[in-house]
């Protein structure tokens, strides 16, 4: 494409047309891929408004009547708001704490040169290799001893070690992207190292924080195994409520899908709210601006 671009560049209008065509084709492609990816979810939303019988029917009933009964059922009978609240608390606290605890390590790995650096960085990965299911028993014993079963703090404590290494490794690449020279100049201007970091680097890391934070939040929001075994009624989170719909003898798909939609919407809304931090305002953009 580039070569043709060169060829036409003598003619400005043609170039403009070419650019316009290019953006139309690319946009179209992206939108088609997006729709392919979203189709299962979008139809999940449709399902969540259908009557149970219409979901299972074959051939599919695309135009069957819609109902909001599934939603009233999950709010009234299952009290999903309570679980939403638990999930929000646990995922929110996990995200903030993971980022706070990880940033100094990420900075250290990105900026300093020290003995055993590569090995220590690898240790953060290596400690996570044990499969969760084999760790549940020790987790439970520990949680019982320190009285953290069925509490939000207990869940957060056991979510942190999986998310901090992720945050360290992700943030490390983001810190590396911030030019050292910027910090240096602040140091020369008389800032402390902390000050230079807080005033120069941290703001440039905001997209990194958000990109990383979003995935930590989603991970904690969706975590199932630890939540299932460590909570029963008080701190129970959303993913474990799916069980309510797997009724013996008949799975209740319609309300289950309604619960699925309810569980994703807050994050989608949040994602839209903070989008300009993780999507548009990248490091490079900030530098240029």
């Amino acid at each position: 494409m580039g070569r043709r671009l060169q060829y036409f560049s003598s003619n400005r209008t043609l170039l403009q047309w070419h650019r316009r065509l290019d953006s139309i084709v690319a946009s179209l492609a992206v939108w088609i891929i997006l729709i392919l990816f979203l189709a299962p979810y979008l139809y999940l939303i449709v399902w969540s408004f259908k009557r149970p019988g219409d979901i299972q029917a074959y051939p599919p009933r695309f135009l069957s009547p819609l109902t909001v009964e599934n939603y009233s059922q999950i709010f009234a009978d299952v009290n999903i708001a309570f679980f939403l609240k638990n999930s929000a608390i646990v995922a929110g606290v996990t995200t903030v704490l993971s980022l706070l605890l990880a940033i100094s390590a990420a900075y250290s790995f990105a900026r300093f040169r020290f003995l055993g650096k590569d090995w220590l960085a690898y240790l953060f990965i290596a400690i996570m290799v044990a499969p969760l299911i084999s760790l549940v028993y020790p987790f439970l014993v520990v949680a019982n001893q320190i009285g953290l079963t069925d509490t939000h703090m207990g869940l957060v404590l056991f979510y942190l070690p999986w998310n901090i290494p992720f945050a360290v490794w992700m943030l490390r690449t983001f810190v590396s992207d911030v030019p050292q020279e910027l910090e240096d100049s602040a140091l020369v201007d008389g800032c402390t190292r902390m000050g230079a970091f807080a005033r120069i680097t941290a703001p440039l890391l905001i997209p990194g924080f958000f990109t990383t934070g979003v995935f930590i939040f989603i991970g904690a929001w969706n975590e199932f195994v630890i939540a299932f075994f460590l909570t029963s009624t008080k701190a129970r989170t959303l993913p474990t409520t799916i069980d309510f719909f797997l009724t013996y003898g008949s799975f209740q798909f319609a309300p289950m899908f309604a619960a699925g939609v309810v569980s994703t919407l807050p994050i989608v809304a949040c994602g839209l709210l903070v989008r300009r931090y993780y999507l548009t305002g990248t490091t490079a953009g900030a530098l240029k601006g």
């Binding site: 009557r51 149970p52 019988g53 299972q56 029917a57 074959y58 051939p59 009290n79 708001a81 309570f82 939403l84 609240k85 999930s87 929000a88 608390i89 929110g92 903030v96 549940v136 028993y137 439970l140 014993v141 019982n144 079963t149 005033r199 941290a202 703001p203 440039l204 905001i206 958000f210 299932f228 075994f229 029963s232 009624t233 474990t240 069980d243 309510f244 719909f245 797997l246 009724t247 013996y248 003898g249 008949s250 799975f251 807050p266 809304a269 949040c270 709210l273 903070v274 931090y277 900030a286 601006g289």
Partner: protein
């Protein structure tokens, strides 16, 4: 370049989710009403019951019972009428709910890690032997025989519960009872009455005939509204926490056995090898005449194929019948007939599968828990439970003509139950009552599924089942 505003917006948006989620009213705490007048229920309960309730109230009011259950229509019925119990006795019941496949993992981990949280637990027949062999459950006999702190009233009526269900929770060697059944099922043959009539087929009376009928419909390639109707649909998935369901039902009619009938522990599949191989082969052949993919069907998949008109027959659980009869879920609601399973070369045997409620041995509120079971599952309250969606487990309910009309499959179920109860008298248990029951079930669940999927032959499957079970036993 950088202002505090960004941080503020970020924090605000995070706070927003927390607040939004927090603002939605959480569970309204159950209001503890002051001194509920027993007179309010005077018309509803007999003098005798009210006196008992007063006694319980005086002794245990204020206690809280934690119950671990799995999503189940009867549990929903229990939840629906629990407020009445709380009002009557002042004993609160808190339900922790998961699903059948995972309830046991949670319960066992909870106990082994020393948490000791639950007073009551809902158990399936495949889970109970493990629990009681590990001493997790309180034996009910001393309670039923009035030796404990709470009396057993005549309106509880244990004998009325069908023995086909109670025997699932009674240890076969000691006769100790561990759980009160709340629901149960037997395998039924669901069949398309219209297709049977149209092609003038008879309801199969032997397993060979059943195979022929499935083959007949499969080869006929009937097409209705663009759907192909296959011969049969049943479950063949390597289930987690259960054996291969169909095989555990047909093994006895085929003349085989799984464990030694006397000690109920020693693997004895190969002692009647021909029967074992024949039964696995039969199931494999049947799957070939069925909806493609049977080796990965769970009960839900299997019945859904039938409900949506993809199969002329289905061997499935009686508990799934209400869904088949519900025109909202099923297009064959008017076209379905129910029959007991056919007879095998060795005769007619059936198996039941049951769910019950048990008291945990680590509970500190056993009296209140037993009182709760008695009130909730006794004959005295049966109508209330059934009206709220519970399943009938009592002979009195199943023989009631009004109920037989309400649930057309109940008659075939009762026949199957009687067959099963007779089989149990002869110690034909498909669920070995040992601590490692799930290990045993896992062995034949996986091997039969592999045979159906064509990975191994029926003979290999039978041999694997025997040798792997022996290996398990040798470890103990």
């Amino acid at each position: 370049m950088f202002t505090d505003r960004r941080w503020i917006v970020a924090c605000l948006s995070l706070a927003l989710i927390l607040v939004v989620a927090g603002c939605v009213p959480a569970a309204a705490p159950a209001l503890q009403e002051e001194a509920p007048a027993t007179e309010k229920f005077a018309g509803k309960y007999s003098e005798e019951q009210l006196a008992w309730i007063d006694e319980i109230r005086a002794a245990y009011s204020g206690a809280t019972l934690n119950m671990l259950g799995f999503a189940h229509p009867t549990l929903n019925a229990m939840k629906a009428i629990t407020p009445e119990w709380e009002e009557l006795t002042g004993i609160t019941v808190v339900y922790d709910e998961t699903d059948l496949a995972k309830v046991r993992d949670k319960f066992v981990l909870n106990i082994t890690s020393g948490a000791n949280t639950y007073d009551l637990v809902m158990t399936a027949e495949v889970q109970a032997p493990e629990y009681w062999n590990l001493d997790y459950l309180e034996p009910l006999d001393p309670w039923l025989e009035n030796e404990m702190g709470v009396t057993t009233e005549s309106w509880f009526d244990w004998e009325d519960i069908h023995p086909g269900y109670t025997m699932m929770f009674t240890s076969v060697n000691e006769g100790t009872r561990y759980a009160v059944p709340i629901s149960g099922e037997v395998a039924l043959l669901f069949y398309r009455a219209d297709l049977f009539e149209e092609h003038s087929m008879e309801i199969p009376e032997t397993y060979d005939e059943l195979l022929d009928v499935a083959k007949f419909f499969n080869e006929r390639e009937i097409v209705e509204d663009g759907r192909t109707v296959y011969g049969i649909s049943f479950r063949g998935r390597p289930a987690l926490g259960g054996g291969n369901w169909v095989w555990s039902i047909i093994i006895f009619p085929f003349g085989g056995q799984i464990v030694d009938l006397e000690d109920q522990v020693t693997p004895a599949v190969l002692e009647k090898k021909d029967a074992a191989v024949a039964s696995i082969e039969w199931e494999t052949k049947l799957a070939k005449h069925g909806v493609p993919g049977i080796a990965s069907f769970d009960p839900f998949d299997a019945i859904n194929q039938y409900k949506q008109g993809f199969a002329a027959m289905s061997i499935e659980a009686s508990v799934l019948a209400p869904g088949v009869l519900n025109p909202d879920e099923s297009i064959v609601s008017d076209l379905t007939g129910f029959a007991p399973l056919p007879a095998g070369p060795a005769g007619s045997f059936n198996q039941t599968f049951s769910h019950g409620v048990a008291i945990t041995s680590s509970s500190e509120n056993k009296e209140a828990a037993y009182a709760f079971i008695q009130w909730m599952l006794g004959r005295g309250n049966q109508a209330l439970l059934l009206d709220n969606g519970g399943a009938p487990v009592r002979r009195s309910a199943m023989e009631d003509p009004a109920n037989q009309e309400r649930w057309p499959y109940i008659e075939a179920t009762l026949q199957g139950l009687d067959q099963a109860a007779a089989a149990y008298e002869n110690r034909f248990f498909a669920t070995p009552q040992v601590e490692f029951v799930l290990e045993y079930l896992n062995v034949w669940s996986v091997n039969v599924s592999r045979a159906i999927a064509g990975e191994i032959t029926a003979e290999q499957a039978a041999e694997n089942i025997q040798s792997e079970m022996e290996e398990i036993l040798a470890q103990k």
